[in-house]
């Protein structure tokens, strides 16, 4: 068993570091409904960590707990070994956590470039006035931010839609734009909520490649929710499986594949 500060090297040559985030006995209720029940797991630096489970298992709620959007009634989220206090969304972003949404949340009327640039907003320190007249620091910041944005646009191969309003884009590309906006804030932890939902096989393959490249190129830790098992098994280093708000499995894709509880949850069990 690895210690929380140990690091190791994966078979494909990536270095996985110590624990950056730990969920300790998280329970989340909405009124009488228990969405998450006593779940604990950790996320290590540089790994791709998947959370899977059937519909209604509580995956998105879990992601919202990780992102700090939901505050669990019981349990604690440890960030770099310290309990994390309740935070505003922008404070979460400042800590280097970025996310995408299951139902795309982009500014539909704005161009792709403008959408991506919004991801840099909390890196701007020039005053509103300076930005309005675009002088001095504001100008310099904009140039830096644009360069960062362009690098991400290049990385995700969306140059051809740079100036296209998001509303005109097909679904698969919108997902990519959302990923771009998350990436441009240079997150240390990237949370992806069903990045492949509603995609065809080819789009899924593209997205998988981008996720691997993001992890490889930017060294970002990635936590993703997904219900396409094939994708998850190929992509992730470790998988947490949830069912009815409970954790029913945690381990490498291989462990999960052979876990009876998981197989039952996915294939159903005959009650005779």
């Amino acid at each position: 068993m690895l210690d929380s500060t140990d690091s190791y090297v994966t078979s494909d040559g990536r270095t996985i570091g110590g624990v950056v985030m730990e969920m300790k006995n998280i329970t989340l209720r909405f009124g009488g409904v228990v969405a998450i029940k006593d779940i604990s797991f950790d996320i290590r630096e540089g790994e791709i960590r998947a959370i899977i489970g059937p519909n209604g298992a509580g995956k998105s709620s879990m992601l919202n707990v990780i992102s700090g959007f939901y505050v669990p009634q019981e349990g604690q989220v440890m960030f770099h070994g310290k309990p994390r206090p309740q935070m505003k969304p922008y404070e979460v972003a400042q800590q280097g956590i970025a996310r995408t949404f299951q139902n795309i949340a982009l500014f539909e009327g704005m161009t792709v470039l403008d959408n991506v640039m919004t991801g840099r907003l909390n890196k701007m320190s020039s005053s509103l006035f300076a930005q309005a007249i675009w002088r001095g620091k504001a100008e310099q910041e904009e140039i830096e931010n644009r360069e960062k944005a362009e690098k991400i646009i290049d990385f995700l191969e969306i140059q051809h839609i740079r100036k296209t309003p998001v509303a005109r884009l097909p679904y698969g590309l919108k997902k990519r734009v959302e990923l771009a906006r998350a990436l441009v804030s240079e997150p240390s932890i990237l949370l992806l909520d069903e990045p492949m939902a509603g995609m065809n096989v080819e789009e899924k393959e593209d997205m998988s490649r981008f996720i691997l490249d993001v992890n490889d190129e930017f060294g970002a830790t990635i936590a993703l929710i997904e219900h396409d098992m094939g994708v998850v098994m190929d992509l992730s280093d470790r998988v947490v499986v949830m069912d009815y708000g409970k954790k029913i499995g945690d381990g490498t894709p291989n462990d999960i594949r052979n876990n009876q509880a998981v197989i039952d949850a996915y294939l159903g069990v005959a009650h005779d």
Partner: protein
């Protein structure tokens, strides 16, 4: 055969031209590429430095004279430099089609015995890595874009910029050797080896010498008085001879600037931003652009649409004459000027053709309407006829003698003759040296006097001296009743409809002609949208009864027009079907340059061809398809076969006898 002096001013190789350009146009832009949203610029002297660094780097890796070095990737300045750097060290560049599959690459790499590969990115590196076991002479690979490659085993893998750094570090030690090798190049040393796309059989390696490339570039640049001020957009495959002549031969001869798009998908935007003065595109590109314009005009406001229609009618009437300098009435001229202000100018700007002085199209026949559309706008679009073996140019159209049905007069320095059977032969200084390691094919194609068989049937028009091409010589056949069968002639007429992307006509040794049709998804899809026709896939749209009706109308109109030609009236299409999949190079149905491989299609879809001839109303079929990543799957469909009305021709035949 006429042999000219050994190069003009001793410029007997591309590296020599580079050195001249660096000296003469040192500060002038040689290459531009859009990167991170900004056009990056390299002058001729900067390009020369980059090329020297890479050439020296290749020396540090042990590149020897006479080595073959493969270059795989989309058009990027770095890869053009790679070609010249390879030439500078006395090796031979072999550009490969970047969308080729790993197996196709393996064949070419093994055939030429490439020791080095210069690949653009991870995708290409992976393909070569997959097949490197089978490559007996392959040693090392250089890659350009490091993305995703950091963790790869770097024993035989080098980053482009690192190779350049190594070269720069070794400049003192290796420069004399580089200079010696550069000076050893002469007019007869090999400039490049290009693999033909191969409409039949395996690709052949066409060896082109410095003489071939430089003489051809010189003649063709003079023909159109190209200058160092031209701008071109390099977007066609680097492995294709046309790109080699335009983006390398002519660019180095005249010193003009080669602009590379940001990515394959941004080509149209980049075209508009650059506004090339000299432009080449296959007919398909012009067709697609016209289709897009027409689709957008359908959606425009009634006022704009009326204005567009009004002025386009006028442009069709007088535009070509104005372009050719023929006399046009004063009022018409004024009206054309107004049209230019309101419609033609903005339209050309949108298309990226505002500055085009000379545009060429070749490779396939272009629809007369498409051709006239561009010419009526004042774009000097011309046709040329050529092939890899000729270093492109065989015939081309001089300004003022442009028509859609001919391919022009022999290019400067080219002799032409028509054989008994109608096949076109040529010889020129651009004529290739040989097919690499294939003396038999060389002898079959090129006779001892230097005449090369084009494989195309055609004739020289009396009076004008223009060449007209009928079809591929081997495709021209007889039908069972002895009538002439020229499939391309009919296919081209069909393809001139925006709804039809591709057509394959059968009929050799048969009693009547039939056809496969591929619909154009953009045009038909837009039509479906406007008519509230729902469809979920290409296959569903292709099988929609109303689509079939429209296609049937097209086929019947074509039949009428074919019937008017007494020689070819037997080629009317009696029955047709609309294919359930798009013909694709990945499935081997088209060449990489998107030409139909008639024989392979006939064999692969044998069941469909049989159904076309046995009067069955529909047929169920299963087809294997190859996905972009090389995996295979099958699709199945039931296709409806339709009868098309034909114009009876027997009467006229009897009358003729």
């Amino acid at each position: 055969m006429t042999q000219t002096s050994e190069g003009v001013n001793g410029l007997t190789s591309v590296p020599a031209l580079l050195q001249r350009n660096a000296a003469e146009f040192g500060d002038k832009a040689a290459y531009r590429e859009k990167e991170l949203g900004i056009w990056q610029n390299w002058t001729w002297s900067e390009a020369a430095d980059e090329i020297d660094a890479l050439a020296l780097g290749l020396l540090t890796l042990g590149a020897a004279e006479g080595d073959f070095i493969a270059i795989i990737g989309r058009n990027r300045p770095y890869l053009y430099w790679a070609m010249v750097a390879v030439q500078s060290v006395g090796a031979v560049p072999v550009p490969l089609y970047s969308d080729a599959s790993a197996d196709e690459m393996a064949y070419v790499l093994e055939h030429c015995g490439a020791r080095f590969v210069i690949a653009a990115d991870q995708e290409q590196v992976d393909k070569v890595t997959d097949v490197q076991e089978d490559l007996s002479q392959f040693e090392q690979m250089i890659y350009l874009d490091p993305r995703g490659l950091r963790k790869y085993d770097h024993a035989n893998l080098h980053q482009f910029s690192k190779v350049q750094d190594a070269g720069r570090a070794a400049v003192g030690e290796l420069m004399p050797e580089l200079n010696r090798r550069r000076e050893a190049l002469n007019y007869d040393s090999t400039c490049v080896m290009l693999y033909t796309s191969g409409t039949t059989g395996k690709p052949k390696g066409v060896v082109l010498s410095n003489r071939n490339i430089i003489e051809t570039s010189r003649h063709s640049s003079e023909f159109d008085s190209l200058s160092a001020g031209e701008d071109i957009l390099a977007y066609l495959p680097m492995a294709w001879v046309g790109d080699f002549i335009f983006s390398l031969g002519q660019a180095y001869w005249t010193g003009f600037c080669v602009n590379c798009p940001e990515s394959v998908d941004t080509m149209m935007t980049d075209l508009r931003e650059i506004g090339p003065t000299y432009y080449f595109a296959p007919p398909r590109v012009f067709e697609t652009q016209l289709t897009t314009v027409m689709i957008r005009m359908e959606d425009a406001s009634p006022m704009k649409k009326r204005m567009f229609d009004y002025f386009m009618t006028h442009a069709k009437k007088v535009g070509p004459d104005i372009l050719d300098g023929n006399p046009v009435g004063g009022f018409d001229k004024l009206k054309y000027k107004l049209g230019d202000l309101l419609v033609y100018g903005p339209l050309k700007n949108t298309l990226g053709f505002s500055r085009v002085r000379i545009g060429y199209t070749a490779g396939e026949a272009i629809g007369p309407e498409i051709f006239d559309f561009y010419r009526s706008l004042g774009i000097n679009l011309k046709q040329l006829y050529g092939q890899t073996e000729a270093s492109v140019f065989i015939t081309q159209q001089p300004d003022g003698q442009v028509r859609s049905d001919t391919v022009g007069v022999p290019s400067p320095g080219v002799e032409l003759k028509i054989a008994e059977n109608g096949e076109v032969f040529y010889r020129s200084e651009g004529t290739f040296v040989e097919y690499y390691k294939n003396a038999e094919s060389t002898a079959d194609t090129k006779d001892p006097e230097g005449w090369v068989a084009t494989g195309d049937a055609g004739f020289i028009e009396e009076g004008t001296g223009h060449l007209r091409i009928i079809d591929r010589a081997k495709d021209v056949a007889n039908m069972s009743d002895g009538a002439l069968f020229a499939p391309k002639y009919v296919e081209n007429k069909l393809k001139f409809y925006p709804n039809i992307l591709e057509a394959v006509v059968f009929g050799a040794e048969r009693d009547r002609c039939t056809a496969f049709i591929n619909i154009d998804l953009t045009a038909v899809g837009n039509w479906a949208e406007r008519n509230n026709i729902a469809y979920a896939s290409y296959q569903e749209l292709a099988g929609h009864p109303r689509v079939l009706e429209t296609i049937q109308e097209h086929v019947e109109t074509v039949n009428k027009s074919v019937a008017e030609d007494p020689m070819l009236s037997g080629c009317q299409v009696h029955r047709f079907l609309v294919l359930h999949k798009q013909l694709d190079a990945d499935d081997g149905e088209l060449t990489r340059t998107l030409k139909v491989r008639r024989k392979i299609i006939g064999e692969k879809f044998e069941d469909l061809v049989n159904a076309l001839y046995d009067d069955s109303p529909e047929i169920y079929t299963e087809t294997e398809v190859t996905y972009e990543d090389g995996r295979k799957g099958t699709i199945s469909a039931t296709l409806e076969i339709r009868d098309a009305a034909v114009v009876p021709v027997t009467a006229s035949k009897i009358a003729a006898e």
